[in-house]
Symmetry: C2
Amino acid sequence: MVKVAINGYGTIGKRIADAVLKMDDMELIGVTKFTPDFSAMIASKRGIPIYTTQEKIEAFEEIGVKIAGTVEELINKSDVVIDASPGKVGEKNKTLYENNGVKAIFQGGEKAHVAEVSFSSLCNYEKAIGKKYVRVVSCNTTALCRLICTLRKNFGIKKVRVTLVRRAGDPHQIKVGPINALLPKPIKLPSHHGPDVQSVIPDVDIVTTAIVAPTTIMHLHVVNVELENHVNEDDIINVLDETSRILLIDSENMKIQGTSQVIELARDLGRKRYDLYENIIWRDSIKIVDKELWLIQAVHQEAIVVPENIDAIRAVTGIEKDPLKSITKTDEKLGVMRRL
Amino acid sequence: MVKVAINGYGTIGKRIADAVLKMDDMELIGVTKFTPDFSAMIASKRGIPIYTTQEKIEAFEEIGVKIAGTVEELINKSDVVIDASPGKVGEKNKTLYENNGVKAIFQGGEKAHVAEVSFSSLCNYEKAIGKKYVRVVSCNTTALCRLICTLRKNFGIKKVRVTLVRRAGDPHQIKVGPINALLPKPIKLPSHHGPDVQSVIPDVDIVTTAIVAPTTIMHLHVVNVELENHVNEDDIINVLDETSRILLIDSENMKIQGTSQVIELARDLGRKRYDLYENIIWRDSIKIVDKELWLIQAVHQEAIVVPENIDAIRAVTGIEKDPLKSITKTDEKLGVMRRL
């Protein structure tokens, strides 16, 4: 059993914690938390060991949250740390992992150079096997990598052009804007998402732009791919329909016209926290014009990287060297769907 | 086992269906659905018998949803129908229930005269025992009735003044506004919520106003109650803390500052569809100035009436004549919390 510690129990950390608890080849030995709040209270009631810094122990105990020890103590006894700190903080934590000789998996908020490999299960699982430091790329990059690697393997790709319409903040955030504007971000094109995809797939020709929209629930990607081979829509649909972590929906039969209805689907499915681990692609958006593929996908920013983090644990520890076996196991245990 | 049919499988209907499935003294014999969509697909996969009108059967079967029969067939074999139709449609359905000699529970979107009793478990459970037609009042009215009946019983009430800040639409609705405005609704004061509370508690002095705000997740009530007796904040807190279906939270220890963070709490608790059946009252909003009580509560419009519908089934069929026993049973099976 691989001993997993999670450093940072926020949006991503709490979801990975739940995911680790569902696996039978790894053990959640504890999480770190730095703000005493309802989320710590619930984790504590569920019996998840919580660690914090020496000076914060009292504040947690005042609200009835028992502390199992200090951050250092947790890191020291783990085999792998999932670093789910806010962006750029992971890099500062790296010394701690180095000093304790533990492997670490960073998130997409860190620069690529923090790790030996920028990771996406469907693209480069093998590269992470046995590595010490791996970075699971961000939600948007994870969704793009899954799609691009699948298309490239099956049809060949000449170039990729994507417009991302990004959610402005997460649902619980009350100090993030804009409330009522569309922000080209960055205005100076292109956006960082292209190079970030290249951190996983170095030789892909990709240019991206990104607009921030006043919504909290999902990102949306308008994807345009010039393929090497002549294919039709059905070829694309058949391949995507068979691909792990890609779920095709349709607007007509399902009456799903937008992201809030995609979330309603997740709620009706009984997904905890309405988490959608899958790229959600509208089947009826898929269109071929000459050799160019167009499609629209929705990305649940809070959840999509969770399966990749679980796979990364197996890769770095070497407990599973076959990508397909890890992916299948992760998906089964998490209830990730290929089709409805 | 009471045979329950649910007429209308929308926001309220699908939640009551899930609740009935959790009870051991009633049986869900089927639901009616009039639009073939993802929600029908999921219900069908879960084995919930779906009924529709003769002319719509084909459209459902085209998307792979098996139809168990017609609406009339379902109503005919039920003991109680939960009418969860859109507002005002329930009244039109009443003839169908009369013709088939079945009891019916209507929702708050109907006028009070549709039923013999306007119902709220903590106020007038006894009045509904053995009745044929009962109306569970709306989400806002349900929340106000729970609070007012509790305060009245314990402290006596002279008058109630409430400003409701209402959510504009439900999360899945994509054609409801406003996107960016506050609407006094009605502008001609007062709002209908006061008289609606009086449909349950006839002799209470209550005046309400309502503002629609661009949010989809919860309502918020600013409540001002003139009490008959001199009490202090702790008296209020102690009573509310012991009351079913009222959950006190606090902004400081829990770090819950607004409705989106209340919903995040529900997500972390693992509530299906993040449903909150409880009045969520900020403990630190509770304030006594002279004999006037002030407090702020949040109301999850999609879910709060679910427990009352379950109680109403027990009351009209007479399978449980003790309100407390029904309330306790409902709350246990649904996981309704008194405190965190």
